[in-house]
C-alpha cells in the first residue's frame, strides 16, 4: 500500500522585520536588496520562542488538523540547523508536549535546509516497511545571519510538521529521489553563533546543480514531465533562486506561485520548502499533482512527487493555513529585532 501525508501543520512567529529596516541600519540600498533577493520582510521569533517551541506548535497544528491520536505516532524526527541543545534532542520535547506514549523512536536530523525533507523520507521508509503506524517529520528553525551579513536579510523563523502514514492520506507521495554530494557552500562550526558561506559558490555548483539533478532524476524515474503537475515548490533561500530553477526545469511561474512564501516570510531553512508545500496543500484540490524539491547546503536535494486526495477537503480547515499565519504581523525596528534574536547579550 502507498505512503502519504495524513496531516500537516505549520507555525510562524508573529513578528516581522522589513528588509528596508535592516538595510537602513547598515547603510545599504533597500530597493536593490529587496529586488535582488525578492524578499521584502522576514519572520522573527518572540523572545521566548526557539526551534523547539516552533516545532511543538507546528506538531500540535498537524495533530489538530486531522484529529490524530498522538499515541499512534511511532517516530518523530526533527530537522533543524538551530536545535537549542547541542546534545539533547528537540524531538523528545516535541513527543512529550504533543502527548505520544514512550513506545516511539526519535532523533534530530541535521542537513542545513533539507533536514526536514530527509525526515519525511525516513518516516516514509518506516511506515512503508510496516515498522510504525504513523511517523512525524518536522522542519523547524530560528536561523541567524551575522549582523551586517547578506544572510541577515533572509534568515527567518518558522516550522512545519508532516504526519506520514498509510490510511486516510490527504496526499499520496508517489515517489522520492535524492541527489547528494560533498559541496562546501555553507557551514557553521560547533560552538559558532553564525554560519559561514562560500559567497558566489552557493549558486551554480550548490543550489542549482543539486535541485536540477534531484528534480530531473525524479521526473526521469517515474516518467513524468513538468506539465503533468499543477504546482511546484523548490527550496526558497530567497525568491530569486526558486524562480530561476523552476524556469530552468520547465515549470511555470503559475505553478510555483502558491508555494512561494519567501517574499513575505524569509528563509525558514529546514521549514522552507515544507512551508511552501503546506501553503500549496492549503489551496490544492483533490487530484492536483505537486512537485517538491528541497535543498540543503553541504549539499543535497530531495525531490517528491505528490498527488492530493479527496481527504484534503475534510482536514484543511481544522488548523491555521500558512496564509492565516502570515496575516497580522507585528513589525519590529532593528533594536527590538536584535533583542529578539539575542544579538545583544544581557
Amino acid at each position: 500500500m502507498s505512503v502519504g501525508i495524513i496531516s500537516y501543520g505549520a507555525y510562524i512567529p508573529r513578528y516581522r522585520i522589513r528588509v528596508e529596516e535592516i538595510a537602513r541600519v547598515w547603510g545599504n540600498d533597500a530597493r536593490i536588496i529587496s529586488d535582488g533577493l525578492m524578499v521584502f520582510e522576514k519572520s522573527v521569533p518572540d523572545i521566548d520562542e526557539d526551534t523547539i517551541t516552533i516545532a511543538v506548535e507546528a506538531a500540535n497544528n498537524a495533530i489538530k488538523r486531522a484529529g490524530i491520536d498522538p499515541e499512534r505516532i511511532g517516530a518523530i524526527y526533527t530537522g533543524s540547523e538551530s536545535h537549542p541543545y547541542a546534545v539533547k534532542p528537540t524531538s523528545t520535547v516535541v513527543a512529550e508536549a504533543i502527548g505520544t506514549n514512550s513506545e516511539l523512536t526519535a532523533a534530530d536530523f541535521e542537513f542545513a535546509c533539507k533536514a526536514g525533507t530527509a525526515a519525511i523520507q525516513a518516516c516514509m521508509g518506516l511506515v512503508g516497511s510496516g515498522m510504525i503506524d504513523l511517523g512525524m517529520a518536522i522542519g523547524s528553525d530560528v536561523s541567524q545571519g551575522a549582523p551586517g551579513d547578506a544572510l541577515e536579510y533572509t534568515a527567518a523563523a518558522g516550522g512545519v510538521a508532516y504526519i506520514i502514514g498509510k490510511d486516510e492520506q490527504a496526499a499520496e507521495i508517489e515517489s522520492t529521489y535524492s541527489f547528494t554530494s560533498d559541496t562546501p557552500d555553507f557551514w557553521r562550526r560547533e560552538g559558532m553563533t553564525y554560519p559561514e558561506h562560500g559567497g558566489r559558490f552557493t549558486g551554480e555548483p550548490a543550489y542549482f546543480k543539486h535541485v536540477t539533478s534531484a528534480a530531473n532524476g525524479l521526473l526521469e524515474k517515474i516518467g513524468t514531465k513538468p506539465s503533468d503537475y499543477d504546482y511546484a515548490i523548490f527550496h526558497q533561500p530567497n525568491g530569486k533562486f526558486p524562480t530561476r530553477v523552476a524556469k530552468m526545469l520547465g515549470f511555470s511561474k503559475e505553478q510555483i506561485k502558491p508555494g512561494l512564501v519567501v517574499p513575505r516570510l524569509g528563509n525558514t531553512y529546514s521549514g522552507s520548502c515544507m512551508m511552501g508545500l503546506a501553503a500549496t496543500l492549503d489551496i490544492a484540490k483533490p487530484g492536483d499533482r505537486i512537485f517538491v524539491t528541497s535543498f540543503g547546503s553541504g549539499a543535497g536535494s530531495d525531490a517528491f512527487s505528490i498527488t492530493v486526495t479527496d481527504r484534503i477537503d475534510d482536514i484543511r480547515n481544522s488548523a491555521p493555513s500558512v496564509e492565516q499565519l502570515l496575516a497580522n504581523p507585528i513589525y519590529l525596528n532593528y533594536a527590538d529585532y536584535a533583542k529578539h534574536k539575542g544579538k545583544i547579550k544581557f
Binding site: 518572540d46 512529550e96 508536549a97
Partner: protein, 132 residues
C-alpha cells in the same frame, strides 16, 4: 526551579495535565492525588485541559531579575481555565491590550533557563484568542 523538580512537572507544564474527580466532577490544576471534597470516595484521574480560559486579574512586570530582564515589560496573570481551575501564568500580548475577562488560549513557550549552559525550561503560557 531545580532540574529534578522541573522534570517531575513536565507533563503538567507542557500539556496542562491536571486531574479530575469522577465522583464530583471537580477539576484540579495543579493535579491532586486526592479530591478534597470527596476524600475517600473520590475517583481522581488524569485530565488534559483544553487550554482555553480567561484573565481574572493581572499585573504588568516592569523590572525583573537578570534572567527575565530581556522579557520586561511582561504580563503575569491569573487565568481561569474553562473547566474551572485557576493558575498563574504569563500572557503574551502588549500591556496596552491586556484586560480582565480577556479570552486566552495556551501557547508552548520557553519559561526560562538555568543559565546559558544550563537546562532550558519549556511550558505553557497564554495568548489572546482573538488576534488583533
Amino acid at each position: 526551579m531545580t532540574v529534578p523538580r522541573f522534570w517531575r512537572r513536565l507533563k503538567n507544564l507542557y500539556r496542562l495535565i491536571g486531574t479530575r474527580c469522577e465522583n464530583c466532577s471537580e477539576y484540579y490544576f495543579p493535579p491532586r492525588n486526592m479530591c478534597p471534597e470527596c476524600r475517600r470516595t473520590g475517583q481522581v484521574v488524569p485530565f488534559k485541559f483544553n487550554g482555553t480560559g480567561e484573565v481574572v486579574t493581572y499585573t504588568i512586570i516592569h523590572s525583573a531579575g537578570k534572567d527575565y530582564a530581556k522579557h520586561t515589560p511582561y504580563i503575569l496573570a491569573i487565568i481561569k481555565l474553562d473547566e474551572g481551575p485557576r493558575l498563574t501564568a504569563q500572557v503574551i500580548c502588549s500591556p496596552d491590550d491586556i484586560h480582565t475577562g480577556m479570552k486566552v488560549k495556551s501557547a508552548f513557550r520557553k519559561l526560562g533557563e538555568e543559565s546559558e549552559k544550563g537546562m532550558i525550561y519549556y511550558g505553557t503560557k497564554f495568548m489572546p484568542q482573538e488576534i488583533k
